[in-house]
């Protein structure tokens, strides 16, 4: 158990020992004759520090050491700093040598670091070259003496000529001769004509570099990827920073109290710096873009996740298309997906996954096309095409998914669906006729039906001839028909007049048959007399002579019903007696009745 604890303890100690490092903090570039500091820091208290040997190029003008408590993720640590103040008096490339610290009997050695000593240009202002008796020469100068050359902002672009849609990386870099600066706010440019993506600047540290053969501290204030959305000469507008410059001034009259309190005299100056505008030449994409091109610039791959190859009618599925790569992914438009017409397409769902880095935006966009199969059958989904412009090669490239087959099955419950059910489903999902386009209707190619131009039937001779013919026909018909009617009426009159004579002749012959005792002939003659009289008198053709017609016609002419009844009764009796010889006894009576009725009728029917 104790052993185990010991092991744990040593492990922890080792872990701690591994964490302890001797680090070097030194500028990478310094001006010849400038005063600068090299610091070695260690997170433990060294028993001994072996001073580094700076060599002939540098002159050591002072050393110092202090410790401070810093807190990091794990807890608080004490950092011991050893500072060496140097003046460089030779130009060239040198090495900051390694220092060695001994902590708890262990030796820690720092990494050597390169340093460049440069000759500052004459433009740099004479005061900067002359070493002052302080750490930083700038601190001793008056705020009014800080010129635009001492503090300025630059917009650094990686390219000045790009294709439309190809990103430009712009870094807004602050150059300063003094490191003691504060930022009181920045006004970011609007980047007209670009789609911008800001990048993380936390990773950047303060650096030293030479610009116009002077040494500056540089800070990256902001960094953007700019995607031009239009062609032509586009300008990156200035970024404006409100800076505060802090200075510690040497007092003209020091009071004892100040010295005692060690109060530094800090003086703050405010200054606004802007980056000069930068012009980017944006070239329009070359002509001859494929039809499936929709503005994607970069280098991409396309993968399609096809739905199941068999599905049931009225069920939903998704066709996923993922476009991945590097380029203007946030501006990417999904490729056109054409499904067979009987598939009901729904809204496309888009998901995006991107990472921004100074080299560009990488990641993917996924387009999900949900659809519902509305008809049974085997369908082929045509390939989906996606085109992009590759700025590296300066050419368009087209990606294509594979064509795939989808078979839509009828049953939804697992059992086979009857044809009627399918038809019912189709009827329920009927759609109005979809007009695809409009065009004029086709020519008429049957008989042309030509007529002489400008000839119209109305008011023509033909029209009046026809109308006249019709009117003439009318008059002809009128006169002809009127004459016929008059004639017929006369004929009826004649027959009525003759009726009495005929019936008398018939009755006379009937009387003869009665005296002869020939019952059959008597009745025959009686019927002829009775029917004939009515036919002639009432102007009814023989074929239409029925008892009903007679009754109707007589009552129309005002003959009393009992009279009519007796007449019809007499006819019935005669008809009956015609074939029965036994009736011969009533012959005389019938004859008498007939003569009576007819003579009465003669007076009434005119």
């Amino acid at each position: 158990m104790v052993l185990l604890l010991c092991a744990v303890a040593t492990n922890t100690a080792q872990a701690q020992a591994q964490e302890i490092r001797l680090e070097t903090f030194a500028p990478t570039v310094v001006a010849k004759g400038a005063v600068f500091a090299v610091e070695y820091r260690i997170a433990a208290q060294p028993q001994r520090m072996i001073d580094p040997e700076f060599g002939d190029a540098f002159m050591l003008i002072g050393t110092g050491q202090h410790h401070s408590v810093v807190s990091d993720g794990g807890g608080q640590r004490t950092v011991y700093t050893y500072r060496y103040v140097l003046i460089a008096h030779e130009t060239g490339n040198f090495t900051i040598p390694a220092a060695t610290a001994i902590v708890d009997g262990r030796t820690y050695t720092s990494q050597p670091k390169p340093i460049e000593v440069v000759e500052e240009g004459a433009t740099g202002g004479g005061t900067a070259t002359a070493p002052q008796s302080g750490e930083r020469p700038q601190q001793q100068r008056d705020a009014g003496q800080i010129t635009d050359e001492d503090l300025f902002l630059r917009a650094v672009v990686d390219k000045t000529t790009v294709w439309r849609g190809e990103p430009v990386r712009v870094r807004f870099k602050l150059y300063s001769r003094t490191a003691d600066l504060g930022n009181e706010g920045a006004k970011m440019p609007t980047f007209n004509g670009f789609w911008s993506q800001s990048l993380d600047t936390q990773q950047y540290r303060q650096q030293t570099e030479t610009y116009n053969s002077r040494v500056y501290h540089t800070f990256i204030v902001a960094e953007y990827l700019l995607y031009p959305t239009q062609s032509g000469a586009l300008t990156i507008d200035p970024l404006t920073l409100n800076m505060v410059i802090r200075e510690i001034r040497r007092r003209q009259s020091r009071s004892i109290l100040d010295d005692f309190m060690m109060m530094p005299d800090v003086h703050e100056t405010r200054r606004t710096v802007s980056s000069p505008p930068v012009t980017i030449t944006v070239r329009e994409l070359p002509a001859g873009a494929p039809p499936s091109f929709s503005g994607a610039v970069g280098n991409f791959t396309m993968t399609a996740t096809q739905p199941e190859t068999t599905m049931y009618v009225n069920s939903a599925a998704t066709y996923r298309i993922r476009i991945a790569g590097m380029g203007n992914i946030p501006l990417l438009q999904g490729p056109r997906v054409e499904m067979p017409a009987s598939f009901e397409m729904h809204n496309v769902k888009m998901t995006e996954d991107t990472r921004s880095s100074p080299t560009g935006i990488t990641g993917s966009r996924q387009f999900e096309h949900p659809f519902i199969a509305r008809a049974v059958g085997d369908f082929t989904v045509e390939p989906v095409q996606f085109s992009y412009f590759n700025p590296q090669t300066g050419e368009y490239a087209t990606l294509e998914t594979r064509r795939f087959n989808l078979s839509v099955m009828a049953d939804t419950t697992g059992g086979p669906m009857s044809m009627l059910d399918i038809r019912t489903a189709q009827r329920l999902s009927q759609e109005p006729l979809r007009m695809l386009d409009s065009d004029i209707r086709y020519i008429k190619h049957d008989a042309p039906g030509l007529r002489p131009h400008g000839r119209v039937l109305m008011c023509s001779v033909l029209y009046f001839v026809l109308a006249g013919a019709i009117v003439a026909l009318f008059f002809a018909a009128f006169f002809y028909l009127r004459r016929r009617i008059t004639q017929m009426r006369d004929a009826a009159l004649m027959r009525g007049k003759k009726a009495n004579k005929i019936v008398l002749a018939r009755l006379r012959s009937a009387e003869e048959f009665m005296t002869e005792g020939n019952s059959r002939r008597f009745h025959d003659e009686m019927l002829k007399a009775l029917w004939g009289y009515l036919g002639d008198k009432l102007n009814i053709p023989a074929a239409n002579l029925t008892k009903e017609n007679v009754r109707e016609e007589l009552s129309r002419r005002g003959i009393p019903a009992d009279e009519t009844n007796r007449y019809v009764e007499l006819i019935s009796e005669c008809e009956y007696a015609q074939y029965s010889p036994a009736e011969s006894s009533t012959m005389h009576e019938k004859y008498k009745t007939a003569v009576e009725i007819i003579s009465r009728m003669e007076g009434r029917i005119r």
Partner: protein, 259 residues
């Protein structure tokens, strides 16, 4: 009776001369018609236009000819002429659905969008009834109605029964009223065919002037295919009125009268 036979004989003679006169060029015309349709089917619209126009030049016309010619001009992109010939086809057969459909599509290419002035409902219905048949249709209808009216008159005059006489009287009166309408419509349609005052703008854009004078002010601009009503003429100028009531003078060469 004899008189009737003479009239019929005269009528037959008139008919036969008309038929004989047409027969001499009948074969040629039929050949041109087939040729033009063949050219249209093979999309040689320029040739189709030439052949259809040859039939017109021979003095023949029909709504089908105008319709096909309108189609050929449409396919050639000459919208003004297409609209002109569709309108001419509608004069002869105002109820033809195909012509109406194609005219509506051709009108879609006309730049001027003119909303016509509102019309009284009764007038609109009257126009709708009138344009259900062409002049000839109404003429034939009037003859049929004449026969019916006279037949009803015969019944009225000759029937002995009162009910039949009554029926004959009212039927005769009713058909007489219809007859008057038919004759009126037929005459009106005939007037449209022979003396229509409507015209179609033929040039791409033409200024409408305030007076019949090239130097006068431009009031508005009309574009190809717009229909105007000619209200008067002076020299080579026409006074026109648009469907929404704007008036002005236009050069005669810029428009084509529909009739």
């Amino acid at each position: 009776m004899k008189r009737l036979y003479i009239i019929l004989a005269m009528f037959a003679a008139v008919l036969s001369t008309a038929v004989c006169g047409a027969q001499s060029t009948q074969a040629d015309i039929q050949r041109l018609w087939d040729e033009a349709n063949q050219a249209y089917m093979t999309a040689d619209y320029a040739a189709a236009i030439r052949a259809y126009n040859a039939i017109l030049d021979a003095g023949h016309s029909s709504h089908k000819l105008y319709y096909n010619l309108g189609n050929a001009y449409f396919k050639e992109g000459q919208m003004g002429r297409a609209i002109l010939f569709y309108n001419r086809a509608l004069l002869l057969r105002p109820s033809d659905a195909d012509t109406k459909h194609n005219l509506a599509i051709a009108m879609g290419y006309v730049k001027d969008k003119i909303d016509p002035l509102p019309e009284m409902a009764v007038k609109r219905w009257g126009r709708a009834v009138r344009s259900s048949m062409g002049s000839n249709g109404w003429a034939v209808a009037s003859l049929v109605l004449l026969v019916l009216a006279l037949a009803a008159t015969l019944v009225y005059l000759l029937s002995e029964r009162l009910s039949r006489r009554k029926a004959g009287f009212y039927t005769g009166l009713f058909t007489l009223a219809l007859l008057l309408f038919a004759v009126g419509f037929s005459v009106a349609e005939r007037y449209e065919i022979l003396h229509s005052s409507y015209a179609i703008v033929m040039t791409t854009a033409v200024p409408v002037k305030s007076s019949p004078d090239g130097a006068s002010k431009d009031i508005f601009i009309l574009h190809e295919g717009t229909k105007v009503n000619i209200t008067s003429s002076l020299g080579e100028w026409y006074e026109i009125e648009t469907a929404n009531g704007h008036k002005g003078w236009i050069i005669a060469t810029a428009i084509e009268i529909i009739r």
